[in-house]
Symmetry: C2
Subunit: 271 residues, 2 copies
DNA sequence: CAAATAGTGTCTCTAAGACAATATCAC
DNA sequence: GTGATATTGTCTTAGAGACACTATTTG
């Protein structure tokens, strides 16, 4: 058989068993919490969208939004579609963070998951509104190394606190992956996916390519700094932060007035 | 239905159409070319394993080694298995670099590819031997930006020269992907996969976590430097390179003798 | 001794961290 | 003026690049 058309017509992909393929999305946003004192700047929190599962398996546990890859779309388009179906907004940015394909990871069968991080901008958040059903909530995220070298991933929303425990495993190319020790109320292997997503987000935030996506078109440098500090869980001296981002931003002639203190100049992202 | 066992027994993944899933591997090694002059150090070249396709589609064109995901293995295990079947050695390290899932990327049908970079160590290369059939060859790699902003990926082996042309596309999170303008003798979308793999390799080489994998257990600092220079396509002053890697290596008491010049101390990777 | 590489010392320059000081608004 | 944040200046320090110099082997 030397003719390509003939060959393709006789080709049977169906002869091999195939897995189901999903995309799961860790969608992050920054929430601004009104502070108690009367004219202080608001505090920021990093939040992650979780969905409470209505059916088996892992019924009533919390999971990342996601769903099955459909014919005719790329995996990334699938991820975008799933996050849109859940939140009704388009994320500002999206990035793959790993493939989770352990054969036993899903009790329903052979399902491999493609994990994505996405950023929901402050503008979009307003469109989402707060009228969500109780089965989709933005959880407050914290992820820290404990004394014994393990990692605690804590997700809180109202009275609900999910606390997963993971072990970091270094693999080749200096990469780190996370193995679940206690999934702490999260469905499937989603604790490990969230840990990977958060690590990826922090890595990308270092080079100032990501933090802008959390903010509106125009923003103050202090707001930008708070985003960076919130994601990285560090604190930075204002003078140094301003110097570091100076190459990435452009002045506007506008100011944020009426905050109870000196107005801050608004900036835009450069180019 | 509130019983999990019952639910799972009735669950039908087969009701949804599923893609075929493959892993394709860009396996790199460093080759040492004997230099003409009588006692100079050998020159290094970065090489990539390609397989000439024996059947349709893309018959007689060159492709990355790879194959279909089998039930019971992870995608990464699939990649390792494929590279082992082709070379008969285990790569020192392996890392995912992307998922390629455009619906039209493979004329055989709905096939999504998981791309991996792997490093074949110098020790392993000896085991591979040179008795390969002509359908598996290590191509010399070069990947550069041209004057008009496009990227040229050139792969050479003997008289064979493959020259693909790509356009860089910046996506969110500051990531770059490559779109094929001219696939230049490479099968499928493998030119774009190779470009992504090489970019990932260069990114990782920056933090000195990868370059050791190309070398034997014990190595001279000059050999390590040549690996770094070959991958990054730059040249570094010896004094500075030594200072930069000093935290990652440990002295041994051994020396590389008989090279026609001052013997170099052998080092090992730290920890 | 000559060729070639191995290895060290140090000057400079840049960028990040620390800290002090000044500016400007709302009330 | 007071409280709070905005913004700038500069000292210090760590690390990378450049360059000059010394050391050690083989042939």
């Amino acid at each position: 058989m030397d003719n390509e058309k003939e060959f393709l017509a006789g080709y049977r992909l169906e002869d091999y068993e195939r897995p189901s393929v999903t995309a799961d999305v860790a969608a992050f946003r920054i929430s601004t919490e009104e502070s108690e004192s009367y004219r202080k700047n608001p505090e920021n929190k990093l939040r992650l969208l979780l969905i409470r599962r209505g059916g088996h398996p892992f019924k009533d546990m919390w999971a990342l939004p996601g769903g099955f890859l459909q014919k005719g779309e790329t995996v990334e388009q699938c991820a975008l579609r799933e996050i849109f179906e859940e939140t009704n907004v388009q994320p500002v940015s999206i990035m793959p963070v790993g493939v989770f394909s352990e054969p036993e990871r899903d009790p329903r069968g052979w399902i491999i998951s493609h994990a994505y991080v996405s950023v929901i901008g402050e503008d979009s958040v307003k469109q989402i509104g707060q009228d969500d059903a109780a089965d989709a909530q933005w959880f407050c995220v914290s992820f820290d190394c404990t004394e014994n070298g393990e990692y605690a991933l804590t997700l809180t929303h109202g009275d609900t606190e999910l606390r997963a425990v993971l072990a970091a495993e270094r693999s080749s190319f200096g990469r780190t992956s996370y193995r679940i020790l206690d999934r702490g109320g999260l469905a499937f292997d989603h604790a490990a996916i969230i840990a990977a997503a958060l690590s990826a987000l922090r890595t990308e935030a270092k080079n100032y390519d990501t933090i802008f996506d959390f903010l509106p078109e125009k923003f103050t440098l202090t707001a930008l700094q708070k985003v960076q500090e919130t994601i990285m869980n560090v604190s930075i001296l204002p003078a140094n932060f301003r110097r570091m981002v100076s190459g990435y931003v452009e002045e506007t002639d506008e100011f944020a007035r009426g905050e109870g203190h000196r107005p801050a100049r608004l900036y835009t992202r450069k180019k």
